[in-house]
């Protein structure tokens, strides 16, 4: 590699140096997929990211070259370079970067042959289409349609294309006419090199809902422990729950052992009545 470096023309040399400088300046170096982003939107995304991240489009050969010169784990990024990848530089938490990139994504219409990342569902109901060839087009795309009150109506909610499947030409045309935009547009992180580790999207994609559920579970566990172990806790609800538990235990014992005391006698009567009723029902 070193030999090849000497043969780089000045402008390429300069670009490699620029990339290496950015890699020095930022804690995080990653690759993003910029496929299908219209130029104007790309500029917009860059502007929005400016404070947090820098996106640099460079020839793949120069990217690879730079990573090789940087050495270490940066070399691992080369395996992720693709036809539509660009470099991204940022500081801080790679998980947060992933999340912020996901959040800035928008949707666009699908082109024939593209693979949808999610189920494409067309809901039942009226459309704005006037009767015409559109009915046939819808039906050919697998969407049951009919004329209703002078308009085209979709008869039932239908999953037209499943996640991971390719969208065919007929489907793409019809979906576009229906205004359905299944394709996400935005920067997709392909890989990140951060503090000497390589992070891939499957790791970087954290499920907020799962964490939320875990917090709820942890809080429930803490509550259960506090109540069950009768840990004195000056916390709203815990002491009340401890009292309630003790009362229930006393009541359960009273009913089970037929201890005739105020506070349980009604429950014992109730139990006897229910037993009699059950026997009567036979």
């Amino acid at each position: 590699m070193a030999i090849y470096t000497h043969h780089l023309p000045a402008w390429k040399r300069e670009e490699v140096e620029q990339i290496k400088d950015l890699a020095d300046k930022y804690a995080l170096v990653g690759l993003v997929d910029v496929y299908g982003i219209p130029a104007r939107q790309f500029q917009q995304i860059r502007r929005n990211l400016r404070s947090n991240a820098v996106v640099k489009v460079a020839r793949n050969t120069l990217v690879e070259h730079s990573m090789n010169e940087l050495g270490g784990h940066f070399v691992d990024l080369n395996g992720k370079v693709s036809e539509h990848s660009a470099l991204i530089f940022a500081n801080g938490n790679p998980f947060k970067l992933f999340k912020s990139l996901e959040q800035t994504k928008t949707k666009r219409s699908a082109k024939a042959g593209e693979i949808t990342p999610e189920d494409i569902v067309v809901p039942a109901g009226p459309t704005t289409f006037k009767p015409g060839p559109i009915v046939g087009e819808l039906q050919q795309a697998g969407i049951p349609a009919a004329i209703d009150g002078g308009k085209v109506k979709i008869k039932e909610t239908k999953t037209v294309v499943k996640a991971g499947e390719a969208i065919n030409k007929k489907q793409a045309d019809v979906l576009s006419k229906l205004g359905i935009k299944p394709m996400p547009v935005g920067l997709s992180l392909l890989a990140v090199c951060y503090e000497g580790d390589l992070y891939l999207p499957d790791v970087l994609s954290v499920d907020d809902e799962a964490y939320k559920a875990k917090i709820t579970l942890a809080a429930q566990q803490a509550f259960n422990l506090a109540v069950n172990a009768a840990v004195p806790t000056a916390c709203v609800g815990v002491t009340e729950a401890q009292i309630a538990k003790a009362v229930r235990e006393a009541r359960n014992l009273g009913v089970e052992a037929s201890i005739y005391e105020k506070g349980v006698i009604e429950l014992i009567i109730s139990k006897a009545y229910r037993q009699a009723n059950a026997l009567k029902a036979i």
Partner: protein, 69 residues
């Protein structure tokens, strides 16, 4: 329900629930015994596992939890 209570009482005394025992209990409670009802009761209870029958009722109704977490 008094015939049923009488049967339950005899049963909980670990005695055989028959016409005689049920009548004795009903009489002691001051109830004028209707022979045919006692006969009907004993016939109905024939083959019934009283323990099992009442244990079903005794299984306390348990509340359903509402909305998911």
């Amino acid at each position: 329900m008094e015939y049923i209570y009488a049967a339950l009482l005899v049963h909980s005394a670990a005695k055989t629930v028959d016409e005689e025992s049920v009548k004795a209990v009903l009489s002691a409670a001051g109830i004028a015994v209707d022979d045919s009802r006692v006969k009907a009761l004993i016939a109905a209870l024939d083959g019934v596992d009283i323990e099992e029958a009442i244990s079903k009722a005794a299984a306390a109704p348990v509340a359903v939890a509402a909305a998911p977490a």
